[in-house]
C-alpha cells in the first residue's frame, strides 16, 4: 500500500513539475519553428510563410492549436518517452539525449564516486583528530574550496591545463577522427577529454561531502554509546570504524542519490565551458539559439531525473536505516 501510495505521489509530482516546465518554456517569446523556417526558406529558396508552414509540420506544432491541447500533447508525449523535436539540430530530442546522456553520466558518476570517497575519508579523519592542527586545516581548506563556484573552477582548470600547460584538450569528448568503441586507445582519450570536467565537478564535491562527514562524526563522537564503548576499553580504531564512521555515513549515502540527480542540471556551466558534449552542453546550446523543443525536452529529462533520484534516495534510506521503515 505504501509503495503504491509513493508511486502515485511520484506520478503526480512529475505531472505537476512538467506542467511548470511547459509553461515556463511556452512563455519564451517568438515562434518555436522560426529558426528552422529560416533555414528551410534559404535552402529551398521559398517564401518564409511557406517555409514556416513546413517547419510547423516537421516539429508537430500548430500555432492555431489552443495552448491546452498543445500542453496535453506534450504531457502524453513525455509519458510515452517522446521528448520532442530539436529545430536547431534538425533531429528528435531523443536522439540527442541518446548521444549526450552517456557522457554526462560518465563524468557525473566518476566525479561523485571520487568526491564522495575522498571527502568522507578526509572528513572522518579530520573529526578523529579533534582539537589538533589537522582538524583546523582540513575544514579550512574545504571551506575555501566551497567558496569557489564550480564554473569558476572550470574556467581556471581550462586556463591552466588547457592554455598555459597545453595538457588538456579544449573541447569535445573524444577526437573527431576516432571511432567510439570499447578499445583501450579510445577509453584512454575519453578519460583525457573528461579530465577537465571531472576535476571541476569532483573537487567541490570532496569539500561538501568532507564537511558533512566531519559534522556527522563530531556529533556521533559525543553520543553516549561511543563513550560507553570507550569505557568498555575498545581500541580507538574499532570505535572509529564500527561506531562512528558507520553511523555518520548512513545519512550521506541517501543524499548521494539526490546529489547525482541534481547534477544532471547543475553540470550545465561546466560542460559549456569545456565544450563537453553532454546534456548541459546541449542545454546551453538550446538556450543560446532559442531551440524551444530541445529546451523543453532536456529540461523535462532533468526534472524527471531529479524526481527519480529523490525516490531512490528515500528507498535507500529506508533500507539503510530501519527506524525509517518502522514509521
Amino acid at each position: 500500500m505504501s509503495i503504491l501510495n509513493k508511486l502515485l505521489q511520484i506520478f503526480i509530482m512529475t505531472f505537476l513539475a512538467l506542467t511548470v516546465v511547459f509553461f515556463i518554456v511556452q512563455s519564451m517569446p517568438g515562434d518555436p519553428a522560426f529558426g528552422l523556417a529560416v533555414s528551410i526558406a534559404q535552402s529551398r529558396n521559398m517564401s518564409l510563410d511557406k517555409a514556416l508552414e513546413i517547419a510547423h509540420n516537421i516539429i508537430g506544432y500548430n500555432p492555431k492549436e489552443p495552448l491546452i491541447l498543445r500542453y496535453l500533447k506534450f504531457i502524453r508525449n513525455i509519458f510515452v518517452g517522446n521528448f520532442g523535436y530539436s529545430t536547431y539540430f534538425k533531429t528528435s530530442v531523443n536522439e540527442i539525449i541518446e548521444k549526450a546522456l552517456p557522457w554526462t553520466l560518465f563524468v557525473i558518476s566518476i566525479a561523485t564516486f571520487i568526491g564522495f570517497f575522498t571527502g568522507v575519508t578526509l572528513g572522518a579523519f579530520s573529526a578523529q583528530k579533534r582539537s589538533t592542527f589537522i582538524d583546523t586545516l582540513i575544514p579550512t581548506i574545504f571551506s575555501i574550496i566551497q567558496a569557489i563556484p564550480a564554473f569558476v573552477l572550470a574556467v581556471f582548470i581550462l586556463f591552466v591545463g588547457g592554455v598555459k600547460l597545453r595538457l588538456l584538450p579544449l573541447g569535445g569528448a573524444y577526437p573527431i577522427n576516432m571511432n567510439p568503441g570499447l578499445y583501450p586507445g579510445f577509453i584512454l582519450t575519453a578519460f583525457h577529454h573528461a579530465l577537465g570536467p571531472l576535476l571541476a565537478t569532483s573537487i567541490p564535491q570532496i569539500a561538501s561531502w568532507g564537511l558533512a562527514m566531519r559534522g556527522n562524526c563530531s556529533n556521533i563522537i559525543e553520543e553516549d554509546f561511543v563513550r560507553f564503548a570507550k569505557i568498555r576499553g575498545l581500541p580507538d580504531s574499532t570505535i572509529a570504524r564500527r561506531y562512528v564512521r558507520k553511523n555518520a555515513i548512513l545519512p550521506l549515502v541517501a543524499s548521494l542519490a539526490i546529489g547525482i540527480g541534481y547534477m544532471l542540471g547543475g553540470h550545465t556551466l561546466v560542460e559549456v565551458i569545456f565544450n563537453y558534449p553532454g546534456i548541459g552542453y546541449y542545454f546551453g546550446q538550446a538556450i543560446s539559439v532559442r531551440d524551444f523543443g530541445l529546451l523543453t525536452g532536456l529540461f523535462s529529462l532533468i526534472v524527471i531525473g531529479v524526481i527519480l533520484a529523490t525516490f531512490i534516495a528515500e528507498i535507500l534510506y529506508s533500507i539503510i536505516d530501519p527506524r525509517v521503515k518502522a514509521q
Partner: protein, 284 residues
C-alpha cells in the same frame, strides 16, 4: 539588538568574514567615487602585467582591470544582496504560513515548495533569463528572478522549525489567552527564528552570487559591462584568451575576487552559526 551583535565579534571566524565583506562593501559603495572608470580602449597597453600605474594590469583592450573590478563590485554585491534578501523574505513567509496553518492551504503550499525543489534551479534560471533577455531589466527584476529559484529549501526548513515550535507550551498559552494569530506569528514565533533566518540570508548570498555571476557569464542578463561575471565572459571568449597565455592575470584576478567575496560570506555565516548554535560551539 546589542546582545545580538556583540557576541558575533568575539568569534574569530565571524570577525575575519566581517572584515572581508566590509572591504568589498567599501569598494562597492565609495570606491567608484575615488577611482574613475575609463573604458576607452588603448591597444598600445594591451595585457600589461600588474604595475604601479595599473595595480591589476590591463585587459585585451588595454583598459585598467582594477577600475573595472571596483566599479563591478557594486552590481555584484548589490545584485546578490537583493536576490538573497528577496529569497529569504519569500522563504520565511511561505515557511511560517506553511508551518503554522494546517489544512488545505498548508497542503497546497507544500506542493508548491516541492515543485520548486524538484525543478533544478540553475537550468530554470537560465530559461527565465532567456525569456526576459530581449527586455532590458533593472537590478530588482534580475534579483527577483534569481530569488524565485532560491527560496524553496529555506521555506521547507522554516516550516519544519515552526511545526516544532508550534507545539510548545508558551504558544498554547498565547492561544488560550486569545492573542490572535498575527500576535503568535510575529511576537512568539518570529523572534525565535531570526538568528536562523539571518544565517540563511548570509548562506543564500553564496548561491545568489554563484547564480548571478553564472548568468552574467553566459551573457544572459547584461546590465553592467563591469559586472565580474561579464568580465569573466570577456576574459574567456571575447579576447581570444584561450589561445594566448599572455593575458593570464586577467581571468585569475577576477576569479580571485569572486572567491574572496564568497569566502568572506562563508566565514561570516560559519561564525554566526557557531555563536547562535550552542551545539556547534561545544567543539571549539
Amino acid at each position: 539588538m546589542k546582545d545580538f551583535i556583540r557576541p558575533i565579534f568575539k568569534n574569530i571566524k565571524a570577525l575575519i568574514g566581517f572584515i572581508f565583506l566590509s572591504i568589498f562593501i567599501l569598494m562597492a559603495s565609495i570606491g567608484p567615487l575615488f577611482i574613475p572608470l575609463n573604458l576607452t580602449s588603448n591597444f598600445a597597453e594591451r595585457y600589461q602585467p600588474p604595475s604601479l600605474k595599473h595595480p591589476y594590469g590591463t585587459d585585451y583592450f588595454g583598459i585598467d582591470i582594477f577600475q573595472q573590478i571596483v566599479h563591478g563590485a557594486r552590481s555584484v554585491i548589490g545584485l546578490s544582496v537583493l536576490a538573497s534578501l528577496f529569497a529569504v523574505i519569500i522563504g520565511s513567509i511561505v515557511g511560517i504560513i506553511r508551518g503554522y496553518l494546517g489544512g488545505v492551504i498548508s497542503k497546497l503550499l507544500d506542493t508548491i515548495i516541492t515543485i520548486f525543489l524538484v525543478i533544478p534551479s540553475f537550468p530554470a534560471l537560465l530559461i527565465m533569463a532567456a525569456i526576459f533577455s530581449d527586455k532590458s531589466l533593472n537590478i530588482i527584476a534580475v534579483a527577483l528572478i534569481i530569488a524565485m529559484w532560491l527560496w524553496a529549501p529555506l521555506a521547507k526548513q522554516i516550516s519544519a522549525q515552526v511545526l516544532s515550535i508550534k507545539s510548545k507550551e508558551f504558544i498554547e498559552t498565547s492561544r488560550m489567552l486569545n492573542l490572535g494569530t498575527p500576535y503568535i506569528l510575529f511576537k512568539d514565533i518570529m523572534p525565535l527564528l531570526i538568528p536562523y533566518i539571518f544565517i540563511n540570508f548570509i548562506t543564500q548570498l553564496k548561491g545568489a552570487m554563484e547564480f548571478s555571476v553564472g548568468l552574467m557569464f553566459l551573457g544572459l542578463a547584461k546590465f553592467d559591462p563591469t559586472h565580474w561575471g561579464v568580465m569573466l565572459n570577456y576574459a574567456l571568449y571575447q579576447a581570444g584568451a584561450l589561445y594566448t597565455p599572455r593575458g593570464f592575470h586577467y581571468p585569475v584576478i577576477i576569479m580571485l575576487h569572486i572567491i574572496l567575496l564568497i569566502y568572506g560570506g562563508i566565514l561570516f555565516a560559519q561564525g554566526i552559526e557557531e555563536v547562535y548554535n550552542p551545539k556547534l560551539r561545544r567543539y571549539e
